[in-house]
């Protein structure tokens, strides 16, 4: 008899297939059969691990969010603006995996707007994301690395807006937004809010790559 962990591991395998299908075919292309063939299995496997489609989607999305959060938490960051920059960089579609995940999130937004339960979950995730960004902004403001003209909560909302809006533009026009430009745009954005004089040079070092 397989251990309990195997069961959960299988559910995560299915969830990852959901991510890929969602990223490739959008929410309207997310069918149990598509998920099954994505895994090279049958729909029987999917229905064996999830009671219905709604539960499958809920689990897959929640898992995606948990993975993202875990990855962000793991990195020991220097506080303040550097940490904020790292947290935002972490979201951008700078590599193939990040592209897939962002495609899945954007594809999910449309469905979440229409379904009350998914909507609530997504709103909570947004609030959670902002709450995790907030201490970095506060610390950056305390250090004078970020302008204090705007309130911390507002600055967080602005930074989150910029980042996700950039994600959408990147996904639709990847050739116009290669990783280097994404990073440079983020730095220009942060530059705008880095204290009094807006043009005193970059406050954060360029990414090594």
């Amino acid at each position: 008899m397989p251990a309990r962990g195997d069961h959960d591991a299988r559910r995560e395998d299915v969830s990852e297939a959901v991510w890929r299908v969602l990223a490739a075919h959008g929410f309207s292309g997310l069918t149990l059969r598509a998920v099954a063939t994505e895994m090279g299995a049958s729909t029987g496997l999917v229905t064996h691990y999830f009671p219905n489609k709604k539960a499958l989607v809920r689990y897959a999305v929640r898992l995606a969010d948990e993975r993202t959060q875990a990855r962000a938490r793991r990195r020991p960051e220097r506080p303040g603006l550097v940490a904020l920059r790292a947290a935002l960089l972490d979201v951008l579609p700078l590599g193939p995996d990040a592209v897939t995940m962002n495609r899945m999130w954007v594809g999910f937004w449309g469905a979440a707007l229409a379904d009350p339960a998914l909507h609530e979950g997504e709103a909570a995730r947004y609030a959670n994301w902002r709450a995790r960004l907030l201490p970095h902004v506060v610390e950056a403001q305390r250090r004078g690395e970020l302008d204090s003209a705007a309130g911390s909560e507002d600055l967080v909302a602005i930074a989150a807006s910029f980042t996700h809006g950039l994600v959408v533009q990147v996904l639709f026009d990847p050739e116009n937004f290669p990783p280097e430009r994404q990073i440079s745009l983020l730095d220009s954005f942060l530059d705008g809010f880095s204290g009094g004089a807006g043009s005193h040079g970059r406050v954060a070092p360029r990414a090594p790559r």
Copy 2:
């Protein structure tokens, strides 16, 4: 025999129903029957005016974009930062109609990412939007209303990112982002890029309402 204009007018009626269905139920809820009942008609009407679903979606999305552009073009704007602010304000979900249209756009993004034809169209619309914002940014920089540290194209991309990212957050959490806060966030954002000193007060007057 009805005039040619009636035929086109009917196609626009159908398109508007598509917008509402898309905003309410997302792309996966966009069915010919849903569109028909949204109009209080039968699917026969829809199929009479459009050869297939793909053509219907294409037409509806293109019409939505044309309407938006026409509205933006009509307003005679003062040049520079004021014009940029007005153009961005025009996109935000400040009223019920704008909320509906933005919900439809976000719902459409997911489908556009998955379908090559729709993807191309959406990428073109983004490029077009940036091209229309560009002269305002250039003029604002020339006047010294906007920081010239960042390139004009980059500033446009940053402004577009911020605006659409804010749209998404507003749609998911409207109570946290009432119209006044949306406007104040936009002004804070623009403030960050308004020349040397970042905190010399608002560069653009608050909206009257």
